[in-house]
């Protein structure tokens, strides 16, 4: 049984009219899709939020504005009977369901191309499912052992390192020295741009998600890649039962940007839209386990620069085309932090693309969350290495408000554990938690 959700502190998705408990009761009362809160998130196009919000007011919506709250920290109880709560900084309005329906608005509507609105999405909440699954845990334990043995077979000098693994922690977190770290990523915004997230995964009960989709599909992850990446970067400190710890920044604020469809594919345009969103939300860390074997793309370089200018760091997978292949886009952009993959023996993974590499991280046989009903799974790739760096970056960012953007980039490299391999394969070495 996962830990009970800690009641929302400064509720990251504050209520327009109702408390979370009231909404839960209402959802249970009318049954159906209980993942939806009954409220909607309206995202405005860049630069169009003022006009869009004005239009909503013109339709008679009673509104509250986040700017009216000290430091824009909205207290749920103070919102009163407003139909909508506006967040001008990020161009988003949270609107209650009846107010939407009364004006004939819904998520199924096609939004006119000249509308100020970009998307209308249902807001979701998450609650724990109590059931444990001993059979699965047993399987996982066996899988971890096999993974460890495989690592030892190819491990050579690193055998001692593997033996020193902390019981109940994945090899990757041990290698990154996450278990001894006192940091949790508390208050740090981490965006993962991928295939979405299983928003009801029991290990994330009580965690709030800021979500947005850029591919026309609900954020709910039907692929598993996105959930796995978020699991590594932001998963819990103590999953239920004997499940090993697999998550790093367990108190970070999770931004889920769905830029790849449930088949795991997307286009540059959707990925850029996700990057724009994450930067607009000032996510200190933006994790991108995706790419293409393409030369440097000017748009990605511009996005990386915009991120650094705004105190955000974009980390991206180098690619899985092998040592002979050069780092793919977007990781090949000079403004984006490229991550290579390591095997459990701390040697570069055979699939890991190289050339322009900032750091390396565990990417072979990585255990993490996957969507229900399986819940957990093992995957390999530079995709899995990237969220190890993202999670550690969030821990570093928590240590000082000055560690943002370029200074966070420098600190991650300066604190890395050197490895006896070419910089083109592992960069400055293995990422380490503070």
């Amino acid at each position: 049984m996962a830990k009970r959700p800690t009641p929302a502190r400064p509720a990251p998705t504050p209520a327009a009219t109702n408390g979370i408990e009231a909404m839960l009761l209402a959802a249970q009362a009318h049954g159906g899709d209980s993942l939806q809160t009954g409220r909607y998130l309206v995202t405005y196009k860049e630069g169009a939020q003022e006009a869009g919000m004005k239009a909503m007011k013109a339709q008679g919506m009673r509104s509250a504005d986040a700017r009216d709250f000290t430091n824009q920290a909205v207290d749920v109880a103070d919102v009163g009977d407003a139909d909508m709560l506006m967040f001008p900084e990020i161009g988003v309005a949270l609107v209650n369901g009846p107010a939407m329906q009364a004006r004939g608005m819904g998520t199924q509507d096609e939004i006119a191309s000249d509308s100020a609105m970009q998307t209308i999405e249902p807001e979701y909440f998450v609650f724990a499912e109590g059931a444990t699954d001993d059979y699965l845990r047993g399987f996982l334990s066996a899988a971890e052992t096999i993974s460890r043995d495989l690592g030892r077979a190819g491990g050579r000098d690193a055998a001692d390192e593997i033996d020193a693994q902390v019981l109940g922690v994945t090899w990757g977190l041990t290698a990154c020295r996450v278990p001894p770290s006192l940091r949790s990523g508390a208050g740090i915004r981490v965006a993962v741009l991928d295939t979405g997230m299983d928003l009801g995964h029991p290990d994330f009960a009580g965690r709030a998600f800021f979500t947005n989709t850029f591919v026309g599909q609900p954020v709910q992850d039907l692929h598993s890649h996105g959930t796995h990446c978020i699991g590594t970067a932001c998963g819990p400190m103590a999953p239920a039962g004997s499940t090993p710890r697999y998550g790093i920044a367990h108190r970070s604020i999770i931004f889920v940007g769905k830029v790849l469809t449930n088949s795991g594919s997307g286009t540059t345009a959707s990925v850029l839209a996700g990057m724009n969103w994450a930067i607009a939300n000032r996510c200190a860390v933006i994790s991108m386990s995706l790419g293409s074997q393409a030369p440097v793309q000017a748009a990605y370089t511009a996005a990386g620069q915009a991120a650094l200018n705004n105190g955000c760091l974009i980390v991206a997978a180098s690619g899985n085309a092998g040592a002979a292949a050069f780092t793919g886009a977007p990781a090949n952009s000079p403004t984006i932090f490229a991550v290579a993959s390591l095997d459990p023996g701390l040697a570069p993974s055979s699939f890991s693309s190289g050339g322009k590499i900032e750091l390396a991280a565990p990417g072979r046989d990585v255990f993490s969350a996957v969507p229900r009903p399986a819940r957990y799974g093992i995957k390999s790739g530079t995709s899995m290495a990237t969220p190890h760096v993202a999670g550690c970056a969030a821990l570093w960012a928590e240590t000082s408000p000055n560690l943002r953007g370029a200074s966070l980039w420098a600190r991650l490299q300066a604190s890395a554990r050197p490895l006896p391999f070419a910089a083109a394969r592992v960069g400055r070495g293995l990422v380490q938690a503070p």
């Binding site: 860049e46 790849l260 540059t268 386990s289 293409s292 393409a294 748009a299 996005a303 915009a306 699939f351």
Partner: protein
């Protein structure tokens, strides 16, 4: 019906984005989204029109939209 692929236009930062968007429209781009934070505009037009977009003041780059994925083995 001419083929109108999607293009990614990167602004050079020399002109306000809104002004640049207006120029791009005049040059035939059907604007999809304006990503103000990162100075990127996406939209659709023919290859011939895209070539002309490269000469619009304030444009740093015009590239075709391309597939992105998670790649094997991940």
């Amino acid at each position: 019906m001419p083929d109108t692929p999607t293009w990614i236009i990167t602004a050079s930062g020399e002109r306000p984005v809104a002004e640049l968007v207006a120029s791009l429209r005049k040059s035939g781009l059907v604007v999809g989204s304006v990503l103000g934070e990162i100075g990127v505009i996406t939209g659709q037009c023919t290859k011939v029109q895209a070539a002309a977009l490269r000469r619009v003041a304030g444009v740093a780059d015009v590239s075709p939209d391309a597939p992105v994925d998670i790649g094997p083995p991940g």
